[in-house]
């Protein structure tokens, strides 16, 4: 089988994790390329507003405090060895970003300044106004341009390819602009394709966040872990669900109910609005459900911060609230509500991004790596702290890139005797050739999204989730009948949407199976039929393996605990 291109390391996705991984692999001397379905600076890392955490010892902070708060935030489901790595290496990576050119906000001494974020007692969030993700994303792309790392822009990956030994040996993708399929050969593939927010409707996530990478890896044999852990962000706009940064509360904004009360006093007397996101989102839901909301929302009040401060430190959301909700944050409170935001789970990896276990405790795909939201290391366990996601992308993107490059050095160019691009090309041709007016992908996606948002959200219970499971099975059965009107090959976004929907249905199923399996309440997974955390039974990860025709095969892994035994979680 011939390939159009061959690299040591291929990175799928060009957000922060993907570009950081590519740069790290490049620094190790590997030949690297990136494939991405959108131009790098269109990636969803852009949307991270508030900042990036690091406990810097030279400013009197301790990495252990950051690590402990992350462990506590995860409701003790995060793997502590991984969290220790995250907290210990954070400072170095932030300084590296600064050296690359990121213009972080500074303090009076001309050094990097910090702000407070949720679930943490100390201000350790470094930031660029309220567009931190965008600022870092553009700088990493500058570095990619300088390093002249090839980027295959607007290429859509349809599957991973394995060699005769079962190792990941490349991928099949098509160029959106031409519709041409190609096989890319690689000794190592790094999946850094982001989250799956569009499985839900509404979601804070961009329209491109369709879980492609998770589904592609899952279908290739890599397990998905802790998929039931879906974060609802406490402050999103009604309607389309756009994100309002946690920095609004970190900088001093209040949450008020319809009576004007700071209701978080009832739920988290110490941390108030800055309790963990799962805690705040549940509190808001209770307020709204018990009739103390306003048209399905509670209020975010920033008026006391003053116009100048808001424009300086929260300028983007000031503009966003004006444009999308017609509210001037300096003059009036903003109606907000919890909205689907982040997938804590993902492709199971070790602390170097490997999606397989050299020791063999769990099965995976040798040669496949993952980093960022698409991966589950696991750092966030049951609930991610704000500003830990950007940190994860740079620390674990770098580690995955380095490890993948070193891994690739040990291998010859992969050899395959049989695999071809034909199955994927045929699937696409079948979709294009399907005549008549069948169901539209968008209709199925909406049905999936509203189902998930109704039954697998902040509060969950068996019956609702079983309903959702049946609905997803039904949608999976209808997917092969969908039709698209555009029959062309050039820039066929209808085709892309159809394929994305197929990936999202796999992700939705995994989320529900994980959620039905975990019979306790932990972090973002709150079950009204199992109200308590049950460490005896459920202090463990849930692994899901894809099976060709039935539900996923369920397996478990113990949580790795180093120094923090589970305690009750009070904010």
């Amino acid at each position: 089988m011939t390939s159009s291109s061959s690299y040591d390391v291929l990175v799928i996705g060009a957000g922060l994790a993907g570009m950081r991984a590519a740069l790290a692999a490049h620094e190790q001397g590997a030949s690297v390329a990136i494939l991405t379905k959108v131009h790098p600076v269109r990636s969803h890392s852009n949307a991270a507003q508030g900042g990036i955490n690091a406990a810097m010892t030279d400013r009197g902070d301790q990495w252990e405090d950051h690590a402990f708060e992350t462990v506590k935030g995860s409701d003790y489901l995060g793997d502590q060895d991984a969290i220790e790595v995250l907290a210990q290496e954070a400072g170095e990576d932030i300084i590296a970003l600064e050296h690359m050119g990121v213009i972080f906000n500074r303090n009076e001494e001309g050094r990097l300044g910090t702000r407070r974020f949720g679930g943490q007692k100390r201000a350790r969030t470094f930031f660029v106004s309220d567009f931190t993700g965008q600022a870092i994303l553009h700088v990493l792309y500058e570095q990619i341009m300088q390093a002249q790392i090839p980027v295959y822009e607007e290429w859509f990956v349809t599957s991973l390819v394995k060699d005769d030994h079962g190792r990941c040996a490349g991928l099949v993708a098509f160029e959106i602009r031409t519709g041409d399929f190609a096989f890319f050969c690689a000794k190592a593939v790094i999946m850094a394709s982001g989250g799956l927010g569009r499985v839900y409707e509404p979601s804070t996530n961009a329209l491109i966040c369709t879980g492609d990478g998770m589904a592609v890896a899952y279908r290739a044999g890599a397990p998905l872990m802790d998929m039931e852990m879906v974060q609802y962000h406490p402050t999103t706009l009604k309607g389309k669900g756009l994100l309002i940064t946690e920095a609004a509360r970190g900088e001093g904004g209040y949450l008020l109910n319809s009576k004007g009360e700071r209701f978080m006093e009832q739920y988290a007397p110490n941390m108030l609005e800055l309790a963990s996101r799962d805690v705040v989102s549940r509190a808001e839901h209770i307020e709204i459900n018990e009739g103390r909301g306003i048209k399905g929302c509670v209020l975010l009040d920033c008026r006391h911060l003053g116009r100048h401060f808001i424009q300086d430190r929260l300028g983007q959301i000031h503009a966003e609230a004006k444009t999308f909700a017609n509210v001037d944050l300096a003059e009036e409170p903003l109606p907000i509500r919890p909205g689907m935001h982040y997938q804590m789970g993902g492709i199971k990896t070790d602390i170097d991004g490997r999606c397989w276990d050299p020791q063999g405790h769990w099965k995976g795909v040798p040669g496949l790596f993952a980093a960022g939201e698409t991966a589950c290391v696991s750092l966030h366990g049951g609930n991610r702290l704000g500003a830990n996601s950007l940190l994860e992308t740079v620390v674990f993107g770098r580690r995955a890139g380095r490890c993948a490059a070193n891994y690739a050095k040990t291998l010859p160019t992969p050899h395959m005797s049989h695999t071809t691009i034909e199955p994927d090309r045929q699937l696409v041709n079948t979709i294009l050739a399907r005549p008549g007016q069948g169901e539209r992908p968008a209709a199925l996606r909406l049905e999936m999204g509203t189902t998930m948002n109704r039954h697998v959200s902040v509060f969950r219970e068996q019956e609702g989730m079983e309903t959702a499971y049946q609905r997803i099975q039904d949608l999976k059965a209808r997917w092969p009948g969908i039709t698209i009107q555009d029959k062309g090959h050039i820039f066929n976004t209808g085709l892309v949407a159809a394929l994305e929907l197929g990936f999202m249905l796999d992700c939705a199923e995994a989320i529900i199976v994980g959620a039905l399996t975990r019979k306790e309440s932990r972090g973002a997974h709150f079950r009204t039929d199992y109200l308590d955390r049950d460490d005896e039974q459920w202090l463990k990860h849930i692994l899901l393996y894809h099976t060709p025709d039935g539900p996923p095969h369920v397996d478990y892994l113990p949580v790795r605990i180093t120094q923090w035994q589970p305690q009750s979680r009070v904010y």
Binding site: N46, A47, H99, R106, T493
Partner: protein, 319 residues
Amino acid sequence: MHTTLRIRRFNPEHDQPSSYYQEYALEIDPSDSVLDGLIKIRETVDDSLTLRCSCRGAICGSCGMRINGHAALACKTKMASMASEGETIQVEPMNNMPVIKDLVTDMAPFWSKIRQVHPWLQPEGPPPTTEYTASSEAMSHLNGVMACIMCGVCVSDCTVLEVDHRFVGPAALAKAYRFVADPRDTSSKIRLDTLNQPGGMWDCTRCMECIQVCPKSVAPMDRIMSLRAKGLAAKVSSTCGSRHAEVFTDIIKHKGILDEPMLAVRTFGLKNVGRLMGMLPLVWQSVVKGKVPLSGPLHRPIPGIQQIQRLYKRVRSKQ
């Protein structure tokens, strides 16, 4: 409310591809953006309608297009602000770049211009062990230009690029400014020397269009003007662009009003016969239209020129 989207379509796979307009009547909510309208069409009427879009919140820069004749982000443009009840909104692909299909343009030329300005930080020597120390003031003013999302809207509506594809363009120049003004970057002089060449910072005609259309308030033209000021301060070599600015200021200082023939002669230099000859058709047209400005000694300073000169002094003392 009701509105109609009149969309310019182009499908390269048609037998004889040519662009045409197609109209879609929509029932919309006053809060709906143009992007909402386009997505509604794509998802419920015609999935062959092709556009790029992703974040819906004006941060990813995917959905740049021309709406009622001016480039904008579709996600940030409310339909109700573009049309009253029953009116039509015209949607077209961005200008100054090739169209691939419908509203999707080829951004490759855009990015090649961005790469031309070597858009990465170039500090001197090994980095410090911790962060670079720099005052908050020296850095925070760069947030405005860092807010650029590379959507291409300014490039679409740049009136210079419309006639001269060699111009590096407002987005690339704003990006260049971001490095020239960064205290950590030590390549400012080289950058400015490069931008001093034809196609660089002097080719902007200050039409303000990029400032008008930029969805992120980056004000590219203001950055271009700052680059010019920095270039002159750094004593970039004398080129038509820099001389034009210097001679312009000098003439105003002495006469209070522009002496246009003198501006041309002094900018190009008397020895540059070719360029001066090239001006002849313009001169001839001016003569025909009766618009021959006085020049040289015949061109008297305006009354109150002392006031202008005092202004010059005050401005210089502030610098």
